[in-house]
Subunit: 153 residues, 2 copies
């Protein structure tokens, strides 16, 4: 196993990690919307070991081989297979991911994304997403987070 | 100034840094070739602060605004301006950059690139690049380093 410290991980996540919120219409939910904060890191297949270490530090999440969608048939397209580490269980996000990156702080723009992300997680912990007024406040934060996460080329 | 630790930096460099060697014909040199090990990190313009902190830790190198070549006229192309931190002075590489990342180790594939890079720097410190036989050994290492650094999509 690679020797990777928690501070190494926060530095790595500044470059490669993403804090985001899946938000969309879903009739299974009382207000008609699903809100799911998630954290992921995507790397090339040959750096999968890094993700295994991150998972062992964060004690949650799963690692997926990305051989579908835009990666399907990657050999023909000269693409490299990727792997993704992802946490979306709310308790894991709230009690493991968020505290980890508060203890081992991020920096740069990623720090701003993380602050917005924490706001959303806090609101959800207080059940704001279960009433219309709270859901509206969450949507505003989600839009701000999306703008921050938007990638330039 | 951002609060970024040395271990944060090595984690960040695993994602965003590059150890490479500029190698090419140049008649100014006795054997007709120039060999120049270099280290760089390129980020979006709005994360320039990170590079300033890296420079202050490594105590060498320069930061460049990339508004030329493929970045020229980036606004029209919906590109985001980038900035690059770069060290190419041999003494800085040998006495500052290499010792830093030996003290605060890298991981994943970047660690392998760094090991090749160190081999080349060591050979150059012993003046191997000034004789034909040594230059050939360096070229073999440079090719291995390039193969490791080659980006997939």
């Amino acid at each position: 196993m690679e020797n990777i410290s928690p501070e190494n991980i926060s530095g790595f996540v500044v470059g490669e990690g993403c804090f985001y919120v899946e938000f969309g219409g879903d009739k299974k939910y009382k207000l008609g919307y699903r809100v799911r904060p998630a954290f992921c890191i995507e790397v090339r297949h040959d750096d999968r070991d890094i993700l295994e270490v991150v998972r062992s530090h964060l004690e949650c999440g799963n690692i997926y081989e990305l051989d579908f969608g835009r990666y399907k048939g990657y050999e023909r397209k000269k693409w490299t297979p990727h792997v993704k580490y992802r946490v979306s269980n709310f308790d894991d996000i709230n009690k493991k991911v968020v505290p980890f990156f508060k203890r081992y702080p991020l920096f740069g723009k990623k720090k701003l994304s993380f602050e917005r992300f924490c706001n959303i997680v806090n609101m959800m912990e207080q059940k704001a997403h279960l009433n219309n007024e709270g859901l509206k406040r969450i949507v505003l934060e989600v839009n701000e987070l999306r703008a921050l996460n938007k990638k330039g080329i």
